[in-house]
Symmetry: C2
């Protein structure tokens, strides 16, 4: 396994430092040598595309992903249609900010079967693909941990995400691999290999699984704080041909409560030593 030697591939998701306003976050990331940022929609909801591009340029930050589209399934047709419209809006926004990729948290509706939700996810991606082409923005299907199968994603394994991406056979549809959702899968190495071999490995997200995990959504750990074999999984991802950013995506009430400069310093250290 190769060690991480510098920050060239480090990207941070804006939500990781949720308490910081977007421009403040960008300034602080840049000061530490971070070169990539994945942008959550909420963080830039009050800015137009030009302003975002200016802030990024000033701080020498590359936009990596726009987060998060998807949420296609619903038992209500009107909601499914609204989701498609909203995803198309996000593709336009991404294009205006020159963000090359939209992450899809595919969605799930507990009022219907997972099979039906999966069908609606496929239909949803099908419906927004022309807009993805028009705006030149890639779509990254992110499989989520099975504990989110009720409301967040009916796609709960890398195998399913691979199947879905391969179905579209498009250079605009791929997969985002997030260690938090997949670390326990005994087929992970093999599915990462498959993902790379099909040119579908679009994104790699890191954090850690805390023991114990005290909140199902907002208690992710900093790399090294938990039990995910991060170096090992990164070696699989790199072996599969991935050469993009390592995106730090941490939702944590605990870490959001503390000083965000200290937290950022810890992220840099954890990135260089525990990822």
């Amino acid at each position: 396994m190769s060690e991480i030697k510098d920050l060239k591939k480090l990207c941070i998701h804006s939500i990781t430092t949720k308490p910081l306003a977007f421009e403040d976050a960008c300034t602080r990331y840049a000061k530490l040598g971070v070169q990539g940022i994945s942008i959550w929609r909420d963080a830039v909801s009050k800015l137009d595309g030009e302003s975002v591009k200016k802030i990024l340029k000033k701080n020498n930050l590359n936009p990596v992903s726009y987060v998060r589209g998807g949420f296609f399934p619903s038992a209500d047709q009107a909601k499914r249609e609204a989701a498609i419209k909203d995803n198309i809006n996000m593709l336009q926004e991404a294009s205006e900010m020159e963000i090359p990729m939209l992450v899809l948290v595919c969605g799930s509706d507990q009022r219907q079967s997972l099979e039906l939700s999966r069908k609606q996810i496929k239909q949803g991606i099908e419906s927004i693909l022309p807009a993805a082409q028009k705006y030149g923005v890639k779509l990254a299907i992110e499989p989520l941990h099975p504990m989110y199968a009720d409301t967040r994603s009916a796609i709960t394994s890398l195998k399913q995400a691979n199947d879905l991406a391969e179905y579209f056979h498009s250079d605009l549809v791929g997969v985002a691999v997030d260690v938090y959702h997949l670390w326990f899968d005994d087929d992970l190495e093999n599915q990462i290999k498959r993902c790379g071999a099909n040119n579908n490995l679009y994104a790699y997200h890191i954090c850690d699984w805390k023991v114990p995990t005290e909140d199902m959504l907002l208690d992710r750990g900093l790399m090294g704080e938990g039990c995910i074999p991060l170096k090992r999984i990164r070696s699989w991802v790199e072996k599969a041909g991935f050469s993009g950013y390592n995106e730090v995506e941490i939702f944590s009430n605990r870490l959001w409560e503390g000083d965000q400069n200290e937290f950022l310093n810890k992220i840099i250290h954890a990135y260089l030593h525990n990822s």
Copy 2:
């Protein structure tokens, strides 16, 4: 899908009504027409085998499973050895109470890889199999939800449990299918079929997945309160040849806080209508 017409196949895990002492629980179950009980070790820790048998006989209750053995993996050899010894003790206890089966929550140690934990699980089962033979008690490998992969089970899918059970090729090693841990798996129908075809489908546990789930361990729902397609999964289990008890196993702070007679009435209703 066939409807459940009576209580003949209803079994309740003693922990489901945790506030009740064992004999009290047995009396109340029997009064409602329940015929099976799965016994958690804690519930009978102060009783000898003869006393337990007497209580069961008096209430016309069949013991179904003894819960829970396993927890084989550890980075410490002494702990692994202690776990094997403890499992052998549980097999003897089960035999003394004439409980035909020990449920294995296989275990996991976050200090080591899941692969190593899986290897130690295999070795653990291998080590206790002679005792299982001696005491005539079956071993049911229970795959757990991946959210428990850090400390409770490195076996997180029915496929893995099937692989493991088939490896032993013994009429004493099979699988316990719990809907809570497996409902989201897109390969579930197929793996249940495989489990049955290999005569490894030893137990079927039911409850529901609440939306939202507020505690990772102690917020299970009563059948019908959540989003698990219980009738559909039961139809797969029955089609796979299973004719044993439907075991109600609910851990819930919320339900434990209320009146346990009311809760039991709700279980009966949910069993007949939503399972």
